[in-house]
Amino acid sequence: MTRGIDVGLAPCESCELVVRTHHRAGLCPRCAEPVHHRKLLWRPRAWALLVAAAVLYIPANTLVMMHTEQFPQHRDDTIMSGILYLVNEDAWGLGLIVFTASIVVPLLKILALAVLLVTTSRHSRWRRRGRTTLYRVLEVVGHWSMLDVFVVALLAAVVQLGRFAAVEPGPAVLPFAGVVVLTMLASAAFDPRAIWDEEAYD
């Protein structure tokens, strides 16, 4: 099958003008959008963002996510201790949701992107269609990982009763948000077309 890259033609992703690329990336002569066969610098960008996300995943899970003041006691919860607290309180469903959204999904995103990047870099022919589907799933699921941040932001805004009851975000909120945002950016930087490449086109 002939690909655009094989005949030196690529469409502008903005105005759909088909340009002769000569294997080079450039700007669309009509709308000045970048025109390229593959996303610009997709490999280093995706890798860099993925690594950053993986790094931030550690503090996001080990640091305190939420600080609860409930007179006369106060407690600090990491994501995991919060989930265990919910489970202990017999809120199994809620605990499962938080566990999935806050721990499993970010981890799976990071792992899946790593798998895609590694296989693509090695021009593996292994289950190309399946990997493409995986990429689409990643794109869709990405938005739903911010649940924890939303919960904390909401509680911190609502529960403010002075020293009797107060919720404050902990230091883990920022790294956690960073993980979510960086994995989204990494999956956006990744070019699924590269899954089908037999050789590198950068």
Binding site: V7, G8, L9, L17, V18, V19, R20, T21, H22, R24, A25, G26, L27, C28, P29, R30, A32, V35, L41, P44, R45, A48, L49, V51, A52, A53, V55, L56, I58, P59, T62, L63, P72, Q73, R75, P171, L174, P175, G178, L182, A189
Partner: protein, 546 residues
């Protein structure tokens, strides 16, 4: 191959071979994560383990460790010790709280406590117990601690000095008991423990700065617990340091009167704790002298502590009295051993010592000299009511000379039968006489008399009373007759028309007339005395002649 209809994109030549700028993102992420990790590490200080007897009030994940009520850590786990005798609380200290891990830091569980010293830890009623800590001064750190079961009496941030007191009887002293100087509370008792020998008590006290400078080497401490009631010439005196000491006990201290100032005592200096202020203020005894006295007469009661007096001055006490048997005389005698402090005699003792030194006499020789002059020990009664007695060392010039025989380094003082003995003898004689009075027989006689009286009364009751009743009846009848007679008499005599009355009246009238005639005669005779001779003149008739 390439369709010329398609335009060519504008090309920007990029420099290659350099790592993409996008790698700044993971770099930032690493830095951010690193900063967070460092911050988190700094926030979390070391983990320490504290052993307590009980986990009462300690909850894992909730109980805090507080220094001056500032949280410096949190209990993360509570486990049993391997031997199951204690609990081990695992505490995650905060970064700032790492200083509490000094080797000499002390930990205790702060709970609500109510004691004589006051109420503490009320806040823990609401917040739950927490672990209090007193940060030690040591620079070395450790990870395992043994917690105190009660808060320490004094914390390291309080300035002052600790001292150690020894005593045989701590009374009601307990940790937190106050320490007074001039009735001002300036410190407290930290601990009361048995000494290693198991006989005396070691009391650790704390005197707060700046009052600790008043504790000098010559300072005396006394037990100020309770109430000191003294009855003396000035009346009844009630002495107490403060009302609190009555309940909680306390320790007073002050300089011994009349002593020159001495340098301040060092930390942990040892002092003796006297039983009361009077004993503490008494001059310290030096040069104890062991004496032994053999008394023929029995000495009753608890002899230990009996006073030994010389010339009215209390110079020592009897240590114990041992009965002994003399084979030669087949008699018992009693060896009283006493410790005396001759320097209580003051200048007299000094002079004696000086005299002995001058004459080159040794101690026993000095005693022999005194004995030669008649020094004898006597048991004397100090209180006839209670039977209390003392041993009096007095000079008796008439005493027979005795040669001293030292025994095991103990100086033996010859004895003499004391006044108590004689007096007791007399009292005994009186008692014997009293004893000889036949109280029993007297009692029996009295009893017999009473019995006879009783039977007499019974006889009266049985025989006389019925007879008396007849007599009474007859007497009553007689009285009635008498009454009738009297009535008749009154009728005969007193009635205006009775014969007696009539007769009496006419007799009186005749008497009246006779008197009138006599008067007329007298008048006539006074005017005509010649009539006695010549007879009556024929003159007019005297008027009113009857």
């Amino acid at each position: 191959m390439t369709d010329e209809r398609y335009p060519i994109p504008t090309v920007h030549h990029r420099k290659r071979g350099r790592p993409s700028a996008v790698w700044i993102v993971p770099l930032i992420a690493v830095i951010a994560a690193g900063v967070l990790a460092v911050r988190s590490y700094l926030r979390n200080g070391p983990t320490i383990h504290i052993t307590f007897d009980t986990a009462d009030g300690i909850e894992s994940g909730k109980s805090e460790v507080r220094y001056k009520n500032v949280p410096v850590g949190r209990v993360t786990r509570v486990d049993l010790s391997p031997d199951h005798q204690h609990i081990i609380a695992t505490v995650q200290l905060t970064g700032g709280g790492a200083v509490v891990a000094a080797t000499d830091s002390r930990f205790w569980v702060e709970r609500p406590r109510i004691g004589v010293g006051g109420v503490s830890g009320l806040g823990t009623l609401l917040s739950g117990a927490y672990i209090g800590v007193d940060i030690g001064a040591s620079k070395e750190k450790t990870k395992t601690f043994v917690g105190l079961e009660r808060p320490p009496g004094v914390t390291n941030d309080q300035h002052g000095t600790r001292y150690r007191l020894s005593t045989n009887d701590a009374g009601s002293l307990a940790p937190q008991s106050p320490v007074y100087v001039q009735r001002q509370s300036v410190g407290s008792v930290l601990s009361v423990d048995l000494a290693k020998d198991g006989r005396t008590l070691d009391i650790e006290i704390f005197v707060a700065a700046p009052y600790d400078k008043f504790v000098t080497e010559s300072t005396v401490f006394w037990n100020a617990s309770g109430v000191d009631v003294t009855l003396d010439a000035s009346g009844l005196r009630l002495n107490t340091e403060s009302l609190a000491t009555v309940v909680a006990g306390g320790i007073g201290f002050g300089p011994r009167e009349g002593t020159p100032p001495t340098p301040a005592a060092k930390e942990n200096a040892r002092f003796r704790l006297y039983t009361d202020r009077r004993h503490a203020m008494a001059k310290p005894d030096t040069d104890p002298l062991a004496l032994e006295m053999q008394f023929d007469e029995p000495i009753r009661g608890n002899a230990a502590g009996v006073n030994v007096e010389l010339a009215g001055i209390h110079i020592g006490e009897v240590v114990d009295i041992v009965p002994d048997y003399d084979e030669a005389t087949k008699l018992f005698h009693y060896d009283a051993r006493a410790t005396v402090y001759p320097d209580r005699l003051g200048p007299a003792y000094k002079k004696l010592v000086a005299e002995g030194a001058r004459k080159g006499l040794s101690g026993p020789q000095m005693l022999q000299a005194l004995v030669d002059r008649g020094l004898r020990a006597q048991v004397k009664s100090s209180n006839l009511l209670t039977g209390a007695y003392y041993i009096d060392l007095a000079f008796d010039p008439a005493a027979k000379p005795v040669k001293l025989a030292p025994k095991d380094g103990v100086w033996i003082v010859p004895t003499q039968r004391g006044g108590t003995d004689l007096m007791l003898q007399k009292v005994t004689d009186i008692l014997a006489k009293v004893d000889r009075i036949p109280f029993e027989q007297i009692g029996g006689d009295v009893s017999n008399t009473a019995r006879a009286a009783s039977s007499l009364l019974g006889h009266l009751d049985a025989n006389v009373v019925p007879a008396m009743q007849g007599v009474m009846t007859r007497a009553e009848t007689a009285m009635g007759a008498l009454k009738d007679s009297l009535a008749a008499l009154r009728d005969n005599v007193a009635a205006p028309d009775s014969a007696l009355q009539q007769t009496t009246r006419s007799t009186l009238e005749q008497l009246d007339r006779a008197a009138f005639s006599l008067r007329t005669l007298a008048d006539y005779l006074s005017t005509h005395p010649e009539a006695l001779l010549r007879g009556r003149d024929s003159g007019p008739e005297p008027k009113g002649a009857p």
